[in-house]
């Protein structure tokens, strides 16, 4: 079969008689760009060879639909889509990491097979050539899931596609913002930090100052005190801020600092803190009251606000 070349797909034979009227009409369904060749094999017989287009791979578009994040105890459907382009299917294999946990071989009975994986509960009744259903998922179901599709002999075209799934620990509460002080003068750095509630995996925090993104000065993950699960322990993300204040920071005398927290599509919260510009102090009137000489020498020169 292989000797017919890599692009050979199938051959069909037909009988045709011309003079004694009977001419067989036949239909061949072809995929786009497929090529056919006619060969006379006996006086009244022809063979039709069907070829795939040059340079094409028969199996294509293997893709997986896997939830990026799910909660402990959820039922999850892993989907694998593929286009065999007319090739016969040999097998669909599912891997978690490098370990095969499910396979489908249509030629075998039973056609589906499960390989035990610690903590994995497959609903075999709901699993199909394209889907695997995982029941009551636990945190160790976090990982990379791959679907490998192979067509049958002679070509054994094979494609594998993977995606990550996290079994999450949902955060409870809001992020919190701390700043060094409430009132700032131009030229002074705005210092602070923002911490997220505990989650697994770590969530993303982003600074915004007056609605504009500001880069964090540091980013760390801190695990919960007394966390037992070493590998997948819940963590709090902390980001720092050290932003030089300039004339544009305080347009209305105030600036709004926002820390935005995002955890997949499951959680989106923010914390805000308003800081103020140090206002020019009213010039002490020489007419009213008495001057306090000591406070005068300690006072920093006030900058005039220019608009």
């Amino acid at each position: 079969m292989k000797s017919a070349g890599q692009n050979w797909l199938a051959t069909t034979k037909f009988s045709i008689r011309f003079r004694n009227v009977h001419v067989q009409e036949f239909h061949v369904s072809l995929m786009p760009l497929h090529r056919i060749c006619f060969r006379a094999i006996r006086s009244s017989k022809i063979a039709v060879d069907i070829f795939k287009p040059e340079g094409s791979v028969a199996l294509k578009d293997v893709s997986v639909t896997i939830p990026q994040a799910a909660n402990i105890g959820d039922t999850i459907t892993l989907q694998c889509h593929y286009d065999l382009e007319g090739e016969p299917l040999y097998t669909v294999k599912w891997y978690k990491g490098q370990r095969e946990f499910f396979r489908y071989i249509p030629k075998e009975l039973p056609s589906t097979q499960i390989f035990p994986y610690y903590g994995m509960d497959i609903d075999i009744g709901k699993s199909t050539p394209n889907t695997v259903v995982l029941r009551n998922v636990q945190q160790n179901m976090t990982g990379k899931y791959g679907c490998e599709v192979s067509t049958d002999a002679p070509n054994f075209y094979t494609l594998i596609t993977s995606a990550n799934m996290y079994i999450v620990q949902m955060p409870v509460g809001d992020p919190e913002v701390f700043v060094e002080k409430d009132i700032y003068e131009i030229g002074y750095p705005l210092k602070g930090n923002c911490s997220s509630p505990l989650s697994y995996p770590a969530m993303n925090l982003t600074w915004y100052l007056n609605g504009k993104r500001v880069k964090e000065s540091f980013k760390i993950s801190v695990s919960a005190p007394g966390a037992i699960n070493e590998k997948r322990k819940p963590v709090s993300t902390i980001i720092g801020l050290e932003h030089e204040i300039d004339a544009s920071t305080f347009k209305t005398g105030k600036a709004v600092l926002r820390c935005s927290a995002e955890f997949f599509h499951l959680y989106q919260r923010h914390a805000e803190y308003t800081v103020e510009e140090e206002r020019p102090r009213p010039r002490p009137s020489s007419v009213l009251g008495t001057r306090d000489a000591s406070s005068e020498t300690n006072r920093m020169p006030c900058k005039s606000r220019s608009k």
Partner: protein, 135 residues
């Protein structure tokens, strides 16, 4: 040259996750033996199919199909555009090996061996083959 020969005798074995990667260096023109463990986990199991892939290709470059017969009588096939008749599978070796004669510089690359068993889990292993040109 001595160094190269030493590497041929003792290929580096590194495990990434649970896929074994063996690094092998060979001088162009020599023969190389690509290991692929086909041993079964249980005594009642049997190898059904061995597929060798080159990582940049979606089709196997060598196959040993024993799905509907005894594995010793399995049907062997080698891609004409890759190893062609230079390759021969040796299932009796421990571990089994794909021998390839007259290695060319274009043979350099990462090869994956997939072993499908009748009962057991599929086993994947990789060989990173470096071909040193003749100077």
């Amino acid at each position: 040259m001595t160094l190269v020969l030493l590497k041929l005798i003792a290929p580096q074995l590194i495990t990434h996750g649970s896929v074994t990667i063996v690094h092998i260096e060979v001088v162009a023109g020599e023969a190389v033996y690509l290991p692929c463990d086909i041993s079964t986990q249980t005594s009642n199991d049997q190898v059904a199919l061995v597929l060798w892939y080159r990582e940049d290709l979606g089709t196997p470059i060598y196959s040993v199909d024993g799905r509907d017969r005894d594995f010793n009588l399995a049907e062997r096939w080698s891609d004409e555009n890759v190893f062609s008749n230079r390759a021969y599978f040796m299932p009796e070796k421990q571990p089994a090996e794909l021998g390839v004669d007259h290695i060319r510089e274009t043979d350099q690359g990462v090869y994956r061996c997939r072993v499908d068993f009748r009962i057991g889990q599929t086993r994947n292993s990789k060989v990173n083959l470096t071909v040193i040109g003749e100077y």
